[in-house]
Point group: C2
Chain length 801, copies 2
């Protein structure tokens, strides 16, 4: 499947024409529906053929042992893997005696379209069976953004010739057999076979319910389905169930032009603590509510929810319709990942696939939450409340590691550390500051003082305590943080990683400030003025290494003394490097997997001069291979800041097209939420020049030649700010709220309702384009004239996180 | 078992009185017999009770998978574990109907003694069965140092009262059941169950042979036994065999005072390539030769071999008989480990136990070979020829890691890397230089030019190539080696480890010099003058970090900037630290498991001034916890050099008593060959002040107050040098050879036969005793007056490598 040819460029949706069996798994990720609680991969209604069947519930996982050739103290013994729960998507169709299976017979027409404004996945097919019978099948699937437990399908089959006997089998299938086996690529998820143990089942009328339990993690999962059936007189319905199967069958004879319509409501519930009847009843109650709302009601609610979302969150681009499509695709999936996760993690792949075992990483706080903060702040609150629920585990982990406060896991589903390689896991302590900074951003953007008192402060305090105990003062009085791993995974266990130290500095300061704001709550957490003074002192004394000879910041102590990676001797097929070179060699040389020092310049721009930013960016551009999907967006942001606008444009497109163009070759395992969110950041923080690490939002708009106009909205402290950038001017409009102070090009600007503020575009210098490692340049984004098909250039093959 | 009370102090042997069931495994290691090819743990003849049964053949292992929670490029997938091969030691005794089992009945007398001059393990027991029958049992066991395939036992049972019916069952037992299970301590060996697959068996007359094959590694192991039987008229003999058992039974009736004597010859052979008949016949031929030699003949050969060894290798100590015993114990076991290993590795535990999976490490070249070089140089040649046979594997590994030349494995049996944790395995590249330097030392000590041309040069060339490709020149022209791990395992993956860089420098220089000596051979290896020039240049430019502020060498870049380990907050039960603290914390702080910079000062004393040595030693003493058995000996050597003679004495005793006092608590898994060899080094290089990194041997003798006299001999270039040190003078005597030039206190000295050269003892300053981390001080060695029982002080509990 070449995405350029089968995915139509369309600003409000993704459409696929025809069906490419080889690219199915990829399309299933792209067409995944989710509300953050339930995730359904875009598998065909009839179940097969499939790339990778997938139905996920946020937080449902199975435990598996983590083995080590040589163990060590503090190594986690047990991992958590997302499991494919009971599949409620399946509606099998028998046409006369032949199953509707697109691998056989003749597929006359097949089209799927995911609509961003409707939140529906529509499918239309016309198929002639091997015996020559032709039917039209259309289905519309949704995962409700308003009724958290509910997914639904409207399925219609129409006889073209006939009469034909049709049977619809609407199913719940537990312990589905999954394709594949041992994957050589360590990034692919572990496949867990038959993780569900049957506990209860029922089938009656048009309804069936299955209850299972996971074998080791002891989570109870209930799934129920109910149906509305419309068709010619005389159809027959039966319901039955077995341990791993629930089935409602409808059979009738259709004459040409006649239609059989099945509306299937599916409800999911799970709990690690509640009783079997409680979980089962919860599912049946959700089904009852959904039936009451009805199909049309669910569709209307969905549309309403999305209308509101797009009004406050859309990013509009003129001049590059493919990028417009990609960024809306990105926003839509980020919304789906976060909308209803509700005190659960937002995984790196959302609920679109089993990649990375369904784990959440620092990606969420660093890339996803900065986007959600300004468009769906409640989702940020929920995500941070989830982190807060894991504080007891994080404190235990800190104690195990000999540290104060809390150490959050590098990768997890429930909160326990699941990383089996500490140099690139536990040693990445920056996760603590990433969480703290996300909390600070949320509070600053929303003014949610109650959250700060109840959750934010404790997150800040416990992470500040961790930093204070992790670092130490040297003889010169500098506060040093040693033996840690920064964002770049081609370095590990280094001293004074600049990103880490700057983030820790922010964390320590913010904790002290928040404790001062809420002294009673802080005192209840055991914080006294000596402790906050120790945080402030450590922050003030934080050591930031700088290489005077080269005039750049080393990513960490000694980095710029290291040998340069021999890029000339590295052929294209040896990327991603981690699959072809040992860690020992990557770690000791100057080669960067993903923005690290460059990310520090984004999140702590105040710590660098403009000249340092330009020199640092140029230096690290030559070293950065982007073997991670968490890099292009950050490079876009800083490229824009240092005036490399075309380069920023190229990186923005790369981030945005990561999944639509499958640049990492692993979209089949799920979408790259952080890269999708990163594409939004590339536009807003890159071309919009938004920085939010100070007290006020700050903008320095720039626009590459390829774009005519960029416009976006942001929710900020009860206001809705609209920003529109063209090559001549930037206009700030307040659509809600009373007034807002911000900075434009460093100058204060007050925006008031009904009085848009306009400022002319600065004319920056155009520096020479920075160079990347040979063969690792981003694809040049061609300038487009009006709506057109995307870039013809083949992007480089990137490995994604 | 308290070793002080049951092991008698005896300068020429180790005797045990009584039997402590709880300490059996430890005693089995202490009483192990080996010739470097066969290793028999000191299990009781009757098989049970046992601590840990063990019969090993050098090079016989089984493969096992190495699992990883998160894999990575270049991680070894398969490990090698020494296996317990067919047990040929067993002679079971039935007294009337009761098995001779020391757990039952009454043990009236039990004594074992390992004699260092005879090379025999003698045992005498008098036992009354639960039914009241009393027998005397005596056995003498040997593993022949002259007939490599042969072990033998002379077993006698005498009736004290009677008449009694006795049955002797002499057995071969394959796939013995081993005690234990999953060990929490990662240092213990993996237990492999039933690794032997039966291939052939025979039993006839007094003989039985079993042939097995290992399941995955495909090694064929043949064991045969034959017997001589003497006793009262009318004994009856049967022979039988099954898949995993061969048995020769002798039965008779003994009247009081009558003796039944069974002389058992056991022969072992194995091969990964030879056919079943070939391996079986080899074993039967060895048996035939042994029977021809006879028991008395084997005993006489053994005594002759050892007479020669002690004449040229003994280290004599006056003033501390326990230390005298310990150092002879050490020499004896080092001899046993290396005597007949013949192109096989010398494992870290020799063939005395399954610890460390039977792997060989850098220990061999760094601690064991320096001792063998001057007393059993042929064993060194064999050990280095083994390394040479593994060059194809080491070249493959280098290529896999992107390096030139050869990368030797951190731990292995056959030559493949078996380390499952690269930061403390593959990253310890110094193993290459350790091997190279061992080869240089051997050639310099023996003048074995043929070895140098055929083996040594290639080892030097391939390791020099590795160093040249591993390091790089920085902008200032310094040659840097980054991202490697030095000897200290509480640091890892650091830049410019001083030990590593200095050893690499020696390696590069030695390779260039050897290539210049053997230009034709070098050319055949592809070495040209550009390559040797590149080696010389890199050696000359080698970067050695130095901390000007503190006036000490950091172990590696940045080490002295790191946070100090909080020793005061570390209670005694938290040692060894690696079992109680995560690597991440150990690595990033100033805490040293084992001599690293201090070892650099021993092997490259020329690279440090006397003042630097004193300051460095004092600095690292405060940081070194000796959680490794590879540390005390080196600390002893440098302590002596910097004038800390009492401290050196304490460390020497610790190294020497590592196993006799079970200081690491793991002698049960096998003896610590490197610590035993290290005890010899502590005496010769410490108090003798021997250094051999220059062209001539150099001595700076010193003697602690506790010792009256130290004397030792060294084979050097065909001469035999005897050195005798007292508090007043040192006397050098040439016992063989024509003349020898050496350095005494830096002054040239020529020793000629018949003309002992005597020099007065220098009177060094006595600096203040250096301090160790609290609780980690070595036990103070009490000064002794004449032969006495050893130190009463309880030594600190040490974790051993």
């Amino acid at each position: 499947m070449s995405p350029q040819t089968t995915f139509t460029v369309d600003p409000w949706g993704i459409a696929e024409h025809g069906l490419d069996l080889g690219g199915q798994a990829r399309a299933e990720s792209v067409f995944a529906l989710s509300n953050g609680h339930i995730g359904l991969r875009g598998n065909l209604d009839e179940g097969e053929p499939h790339g990778l069947p997938g139905t996920y519930l946020n937080g449902v996982f199975e435990l598996r042992p983590l083995p080590y050739a040589e163990g060590g103290y503090g190594y986690p013994e047990s991992g958590q893997s997302v499991i494919n729960v009971t599949n409620g998507k399946i509606i099998r169709l028998l046409v006369d005696d032949e199953p509707f299976d697109l691998r056989y017979g003749e597929l006359r027409h097949h089209q799927r379209r995911l609509d961003f404004r409707e939140g529906l996945l529509r499918r239309d097919a016309e198929w002639t069976s091997p015996a020559g019978r032709t039917v039209k099948v259309s289905s519309t699937r949704l995962v409700s953004l308003t009724q958290r437990a509910i997914a639904a399908v409207d399925y219609r089959v129409t006889a073209v010739d006939g009469p034909i006997r049709v049977v619809l089998q609407s199913e719940l299938v537990a312990n589905e057999q999954l394709p594949g086996g041992a994957e050589a690529d360590p990034r692919a998820a572990a496949v867990l076979e038959a993780p569900l143990v049957a506990e209860a089942r029922m089938a009656a009328g048009t309804k069936a319910v299955l209850v299972h339990r996971t074998r080791y993690s002891g989570q109870r999962v209930a799934v129920g389905m109910d149906h509305l059936i419309e068709g010619p007189e005389g159809f027959h319905v039966t319901a039955e169930c077995a341990e791993d199967q629930g089935r409602v069958s409808v059979t009738t004879v259709l004459h040409p032009g006649e239609e059989l319509r099945l509306t299937k409501f599916t409800a999911y519930g799970w709990s690690a603590t509640r009783s079997l009847p409680a979980v089962r009843d919860q599912v049946e109650a959700a089904l009852t509510a959904a039936r009451y709302t009805g199909w049309n009601g669910l569709v209307a609610e969905q549309r309403e929810f999305l209308k509101d979302f797009w009004e406050t969150s859309d990013i509009q681009i003129d001049g590059d319709v493919e990028l417009q499509q990609a960024v809306r695709f990105a926003l839509f999936h980020v919304l789906q990942a976060g909308a209803r996760s509700e005190e659960r993690a937002i995984p790196a792949k959302g609920l679109t696939g089993p990649g990375y075992d369904g784990h959440s990483f620092w990606d969420t706080e660093t890339f996803v939450l900065p986007v959600l903060t300004y468009c769906l702040p409640d989702a940020v609150k929920q995500a941070l409340r989830w982190r807060h629920t894991t504080l007891p585990l994080a404190r235990e982990r800190a104690a195990q590691l000999g540290l104060a406060g809390a150490v959050f896991p590098w990768r997890t589903i429930r909160g326990e550390e699941c990383s089996g390689y500490w140099p690139a896991g536990t040693a990445a302590f920056h996760i603590g500051a990433d969480i703290a900074v996300a909390a600070v951003r949320y509070v600053r953007a929303t003014g949610d003082v109650e959250f700060e008192k109840a959750y934010g402060l404790e997150l800040l305090v416990e992470t500040a305590r961790m930093w204070r105990s992790l670092g130490h003062h040297d003889a010169a009085g500098r506060f040093r943080i040693e033996g840690v791993t920064g964002p770049d995974e081609y370095s590990a266990v280094a001293d004074n990683n600049v990103f880490t130290n700057l983030m820790a500095q922010t964390n320590l300061r913010a904790a002290a400030e928040a404790a001062a704001r809420h002294q009673t709550v802080a005192a209840a957490l055991g914080v006294d003025t000596e402790e906050t003074a120790a945080w402030r002192d450590a922050a003030r004394a934080m050591y930031i290494p700088y290489d005077e000879k080269l005039g750049v910041h080393p990513q960490a102590d000694g980095f710029t003394d290291h040998q340069l990676w021999d890029f000339d001797a590295t052929p294209p097929e040896k990327y991603p490097l981690l699959l072809h070179y040992p860690y020992f060699d990557l770690y000791r040389k100057q080669v960067v997997k993903q923005a690290d020092l460059v990310l520090a310049m984004q999140v702590r721009g105040d710590a660098f001069t403009d000249e340092q930013k330009a020199r640092n960016f140029a230096y690290y551009e030559r070293l950065t291979v982007r073997d991670s999907s968490l890099s292009a967006c950050t490079q876009a942001v800083i490229a824009a800041e240092v005036g490399q606008l075309d380069l920023a444009y190229d990186y923005t497109a790369e981030a945005a097209l990561m999944d639509l163009h499958d640049l990492g070759g692993n979209t089949k395992d799920g979408l790259h939420m952080a890269s999708l969110a990163g594409a939004c950041l590339a536009l807003v923080a890159g071309f919009g020049g938004l920085r939010d690490h100070g007290d006020q939002l700050s903008f320095r708009p720039r626009l590459p030649a390829g774009l005519r106009r960029l416009a976006f909205a942001m929710k900020i402290r009860g206001t809705l700010l609209h920003v529109e950038i063209t090559h001549t001017r930037t206009t700030y409009t307040l659509r809600r709220g009373s007034s807002l102070n911000l900075l434009h090009e460093g100058e204060p600007l007050r925006v008031e309702p009904g009085r848009p503020a306009s400022r002319p575009m600065a004319v920056p210098e155009t520096p020479e384009r920075c160079l990347q490692p040979p063969g690792r340049e981003p694809a040049r984004r061609q300038q487009q004239s009006g709506p057109a098909v995307g870039s013809g250039a083949e992007p480089p093959h990137l490995a994604a996180e």
